[in-house]
Point group: C2
Chain length 344, copies 2
Amino acid sequence: MVTVALDAMGGDHGVVATAHGVAQLSREDVDVHVFLVGDLAQLGPALDGVAYDPTKITLVHAEGSVAMSDDPREALDRLPRCSILTAAKLVRDGDAKALVSAGHTGATILASARCFERLPGIRRSALAAVYPTEAKHGPRGDPFALMLDVGATLIASEDDLVGFALMGSAYSSVISEIASPRVALLSNGSEPNKGTPAIIEAHRRLKAGPLLFAGNVEGLDIPRGTVDVVVCDGFLGNVVLKMLEGFGEVMNDVARQAAARSLQWRLGLSMLGGGIRELKRMTDWNSYGGAPLLGFDQVVIKAHGRSEARAIRNAVKVAAKAVRGDLIGRIRNGLDQWPNGGLS
Amino acid sequence: MVTVALDAMGGDHGVVATAHGVAQLSREDVDVHVFLVGDLAQLGPALDGVAYDPTKITLVHAEGSVAMSDDPREALDRLPRCSILTAAKLVRDGDAKALVSAGHTGATILASARCFERLPGIRRSALAAVYPTEAKHGPRGDPFALMLDVGATLIASEDDLVGFALMGSAYSSVISEIASPRVALLSNGSEPNKGTPAIIEAHRRLKAGPLLFAGNVEGLDIPRGTVDVVVCDGFLGNVVLKMLEGFGEVMNDVARQAAARSLQWRLGLSMLGGGIRELKRMTDWNSYGGAPLLGFDQVVIKAHGRSEARAIRNAVKVAAKAVRGDLIGRIRNGLDQWPNGGLS
């Protein structure tokens, strides 16, 4: 049985999405226990009339929560018993093995920094995102790859990039079950001398290191999914990730408007069933459980703010899988085996 | 009559694409004269049997050309009479008013730096790319926006970003005929304090400056086309531009594979005629004339390496339009009216 602490207050769809997602998961044949952390006055009603297995859910009261418009530092200082801090403390104290939140990203990172230890050798954390690709990955044929950082560390040094590569490889190995994930740096050309000074130096070290390093990849390779793990700084990763979302939305817009215009289009779209589903799959964020926050000594999964019940369920499942696969142990091993990330 | 010097040797499709593109343009009712610069032994045969107006094309011999695999500096030193340098000198000496090339980007930039003057106040040049968007732009309803830099200046300072904004605004104004183009910085959030230090400082100055500054845009806004001109450093712009290309290719792949699999799909696709055309338009690089290289006292258009005849024709037309609209004069005016880009 894996126990997961979920900030029930976070996310655009609030307690209804989190409570329903956990209720759904509790009815499935999975060995996961969830601490649903939030305002009991809201959590109770959210679960009213919903079928769930009460042996797999424990409600934990918290006072207040961080709003999307809050400054995270100020909010955590003001609300010491808020949902994200209460959930993180359950993990810190060993009552739960993983933290999941669909709330404020900055508050999730800061709560983790306050409650957990940073892994030795890792100076800055990375938020990794799973994103849809044309190519399939690993033995399970996962239709997605991993990118990090996508927003925790705006400007990454060569040390940070090497650390991200190590952590991303371990995560991909645990979640997509790829023995040796192909890892690459995102740059403006495939040659080793392309990119910023930090990228060029990280390239040199990764090439000499123990990971399956595929060199640099370019923008073209992102939708293609040429590699399993794409490494970049948080600024670039954030722009890239939001662009991927934007593409999905634009494609949906174009198809919807065209379908509204004509019967012929609606017929055409229905005939395209499988292919449209394939394109939709490539842009459906609810399928992907969430983004791991890597760099701490505990498993943390940040679900998308827009997560609905299904996405919350998937995020909790991913967190449990990361615990079962000993994600943190694997990252520690990687760091031990390659001290200082090749920095001699 | 506008005269344009075209490096006839550059691009993946070589002299056939450049010669045919120019031949096609010469038969149209446009007042453009082209110096077709390259190896006469190849240019002659390429024009054999092709209908063109000989009063609008002058062949100019050049010795050698820069290969895509060449180091541009070494190649230009080794080949002082090569096609790109010969074409650039025609512009420098006043025989032509604009330079167009589909060849080596680095060589085009370097040849421009050697033959032209940098505009006062501009320290580094920018390659701007026109890219397809969902939203239409300007009075002509152009289905594309402008992004710069996409590869000339890898790391841009705040001064560079402000200069790019000015030049991009002038170009958009001339080519898309938008009186006051909306200009934005690409960042990891819309708030003024989001981004790298260079972006934050450029934001502050642009906000106080004479351009129609829309603040920061995010990755989502790129395919949407929220603004007319997107400003970023060359590293980010390069990754973003190649991602846009990658998306087009992946979409084509998915549709083609599905069509090959089933008759129903082929039928469905044919029923979707207009919408598919819309999606195709959004990813058809041949429609867009090419990328202006901004920062010099002459008009320079870099056509995509993959340009076929139609794209070459469009690139020459865009160059002529930039000359007629006095692009360089407009950029000079902008620089004069806002000395030092707001740096006091």
